[in-house]
Each structure stands twice: as structure tokens, then as C-alpha cells.
């Protein structure tokens, strides 16, 4: 091979290698149904995510594969694919971010820093038998932890926005599907749920979320995520009462590889229409006040049905509260 051709070939390879998202031989997998072969499918979806360096690369790849996505109309909103009405809750998985696995294990491939952060949580539990959760005073759980919260949810699809509502702390994520770009980096700031854009393709809502606070996937032994975390989701209504979503979480601080999970929400029976999203306020009942103790665990400081908590309690955290 002449030297000039060799240089051209190497240059082309380098060009592709430096263009994230383009050096992907595998096509984007369509929606993979959760069935008896789920374990194999899950490995495939994990491997698909691992081909990308960043969540944004993955999102752009899916967007290109969908030719930019579809524009929805109001007339389509009563079609089964877009009718997400009803009151939902997480289908299963307890407080585990990966609902396929329970207990004190994780399917996340953690970096040394991520593993150390998780070990600190495990050590805290072993040493004190407890912990303190920042959401105890109604601070938002944040995202992607949002996916694990077990209470009521509503999902509202419109042509230009989809609202993903969590009853807990009146928590709403908005997905902009009107072609909006992310907030410009120079104007962006972090928040609990970040900034989410998305597009529709073949009855699926594909999203990308960034500009997030750091946090934890859940209490207990679930790992932490950094403020560099970004997530690609792919939502689909898979039957008359079930919504599922592929989650690919990228976090260069805590994850050695993107973490793929399949999240799921089930529409609840609500024949009397009594289940509704109602306001959630930690301040309305004194008995729901929670303080953090010196050991890093949780405690009720002052019940309204006990005349003198400090005189009754054996906990120094309660005795030492200025009154």
C-alpha cells in the first residue's frame, strides 16, 4: 500500500475514533420485551450502552437512528401508545435501583471511587444500625434516584412536553419534546431533576437528562452518583397498565461502565377514584420532623403527643435539643 493511502486510511480511522457515537457497529436495539429471555436481552442492552463514552453520544445515536424523531399531534393523544393516564406506582424492586436484584448487592460496575463511597454507606449501617436520608425533611430525592421512589405517580403526555410526576414532595420532571435543545452550558445550573429533552420514535419516548445534583440511587447499600451523572431513558407503554423504561446511567466518577436497568411502573386499580396525587408537605405535622443524630442516624425530636420528650427519651440527640 502506498504511504499516502496508508496515511488516509489511518486518518479516517482516527477521525471516526475521535467522533463519539459514530464508531458503533451495532444498530440501536428496538424495544426488547421483558420475558423469560430477559437476562440475555439485558446483557445486550448493557453492552449496547457500553459502546458509548457518554450519555449524550448514546442519545445522539438513538436520535439519528430515529431520523430526529416524530412530531406528535393532539389527535394522537388518545392512542394507546401515548395514553399514559392513570395512577401508577413502581412495579417492584423495592428500593433497589436495579429492580431485577434485591438485597445488599448492586449490578453497577463501580469505579474505585464509587466502590469506596458505597463502602462508606455499608460501614455506617454496620456501625450504627441506621442512617439519615436527606429527603426526611422533604428535600427532593433527585434524579436518577427518582426512579426508585415507591409512592404514586402520574405520567402526562402532550405533543410538546411529557410530565413525569412523583407524588412524593410534589416532584415533577418535564421532558421537552418540542425540539428544544438543552440549556446552554454557560447558562446552565444544576438541580435535583436536571434538564431533560427528548423525542418520540415508534411509540417510545427517548430522553437525555443532565445538569444534576450529586446524590444516591437510594438509601441502604445503593451506590452514589456524582453531579456529572447523565442519563438516557427510553420509555414505552408495554401493555394496558404497564409503563417501562430503559435507563442507561453514565457517571464518570462512580461508574466504570454505564449502568443499564429496566424500570417499570404499574397502573393501580382505582375503581373508586380515591387515589389521587395530593400535596406533600413535611411541615404540616410536627410528628414528621426528623433530625440527624451525631452518629449520622435519624430521630424524631419532639412529638406533639408527649409532654416532655427530653425527660422521657434516653437518646442524647433528643435530650440536647434546645427548647
Amino acid at each position: 500500500m502506498p504511504v499516502s493511502r496508508y496515511i488516509v486510511a489511518v486518518s479516517l480511522l482516527l477521525l471516526f475514533a475521535m467522533t463519539p457515537g459514530l464508531l458503533v457497529a451495532q444498530e440501536a436495539p428496538g424495544w426488547l420485551e421483558k420475558d423469560e429471555n430477559w437476562a440475555v436481552k439485558k446483557v445486550r442492552l448493557q453492552a449496547f450502552g457500553e459502546q458509548f463514552n457518554t450519555a449524550w453520544d448514546l442519545y445522539q445515536f438513538l436520535e439519528q437512528a430515529a431520523d430526529g424523531g416524530e412530531t406528535l399531534s393532539w389527535q394522537q393523544m388518545d392512542e394507546a401508545a401515548y395514553d399514559w393516564s392513570g395512577i401508577f406506582t413502581r412495579t417492584g424492586g423495592g428500593l433497589s435501583f436495579d429492580p431485577d436484584i434485591r438485597g445488599n448487592v448492586t449490578t453497577a460496575q463501580l469505579t474505585p471511587a464509587g466502590a469506596a463511597a458505597r463502602q462508606r454507606k455499608i460501614d455506617q449501617l454496620a456501625a450504627t444500625g441506621g442512617e439519615y436520608d436527606p429527603i426526611s425533611d422533604c428535600r427532593p430525592p433527585g434524579y436518577p434516584r427518582w426512579a426508585t421512589e415507591p409512592f404514586l405517580h402520574e405520567f402526562i403526555v402532550t405533543p410538546n412536553q411529557t410530565w413525569l410526576v412523583n407524588e412524593m414532595v410534589n416532584d415533577v420532571r418535564r421532558v421537552y419534546t418540542d425540539g428544544s435543545a438543552h440549556t446552554l452550558p454557560e447558562d446552565a445550573y444544576a438541580s435535583a431533576n436536571g434538564d431533560t429533552i427528548g423525542f418520540w420514535t415508534d411509540g417510545m419516548l427517548v430522553t437525555h437528562t443532565m445538569y444534576l445534583y450529586s446524590g444516591q440511587y437510594q438509601r441502604g447499600t445503593q451506590p452514589d452518583y456524582s453531579d456529572q451523572v447523565e442519563v438516557v431513558e427510553r420509555w414505552k407503554k408495554v401493555d394496558g397498565n404497564t409503563l417501562e423504561a430503559d435507563y442507561w446511567v453514565f457517571d464518570p466518577v462512580n461508574l466504570a461502565e454505564p449502568w443499564y436497568t429496566r424500570q417499570s411502573w404499574t397502573e393501580l386499580a382505582n375503581d373508586d377514584n380515591f387515589l389521587r396525587i395530593r400535596y406533600w408537605d413535611c411541615q404540616e405535622n410536627q410528628n414528621n420532623d426528623i433530625i440527624i443524630t451525631d452518629e449520622g442516624t435519624s430521630q424524631f425530636p419532639d412529638f406533639d403527643f408527649i409532654e416532655n420528650d427530653a425527660a422521657v427519651s434516653t437518646d442524647e440527640a433528643v435530650k440536647n435539643i434546645p427548647r
Partner: protein, 134 residues
Amino acid sequence: MTMKRTLYSFLYLLSFILYPVAYAHHSGAMFDGSTVVEVSGVVREFQYTNPHSWLLVDVTNADGSVTTWGFEAEGPSTLMRAGIRKGDLPPGTPISIRGNPMKDGRSAGAWIDAVVAGETINPRNGFAVIPAAE
């Protein structure tokens, strides 16, 4: 009503398979999960609030004094899913109630279940996922 209660009792057992025991909004560090306390008295107040509900029960002691116990459950939506509504437990309702007590000796606990008018109610049933008809 009885059939409904039977269904909820079944779902109570199911809830331990489907979901971890309560305290979904805060750590359960303050409760002694290895101990169960049971008291009988009358409902003083049902604080049907988010993020947690509290059932206050006045218990008459042997010396005639009254101790108020507070039992924590999840918030209204989870209680509704368990079939427990605010109007089910008005003040004065006789009740026997069980909970995991506070570690620090105060008269409070995490509500496990209760017997009202001969029927068992289980707030943790509210974590069972009962799908809507397709």
C-alpha cells in the same frame, strides 16, 4: 367488608414479598425492628398526613393514668391502598394495635397492624401492587 379485609390480609403477606417494610421516606433507625409492642385503648386522633400518618391512641394504665401512644404509618395514599381511610378510625374508636417501638423509650412506634371491631387492618398492605384492569 369481611371479604375485603380477608383480601387485605392476604395482601399483607404479599407486601413483604413485593416491597421492603415501610419507612420509605426516612430511615427506620429510631425503631427497634426486633421488638413488638401491643397496646389497647381508644383512638385519640388520626393524623392523616404526608409524608407519614400518625395514629394516636390513649391507653389507660393500671393506676388510672393515661398514656398517649403514637404509631407511624405511611402517608394517606399508601393507607388508602391498604383500605384504611381517615373516617375508619374516628376519635373514641376502641383499638388494639401493634408496632415496633422506639429505641429511646418514648411511647411511639412503627405501626404494624391493629384490630378494630374484630377485624385486622394492616397499613403495610398499601405497598402491594394491585394492577388496574387492562
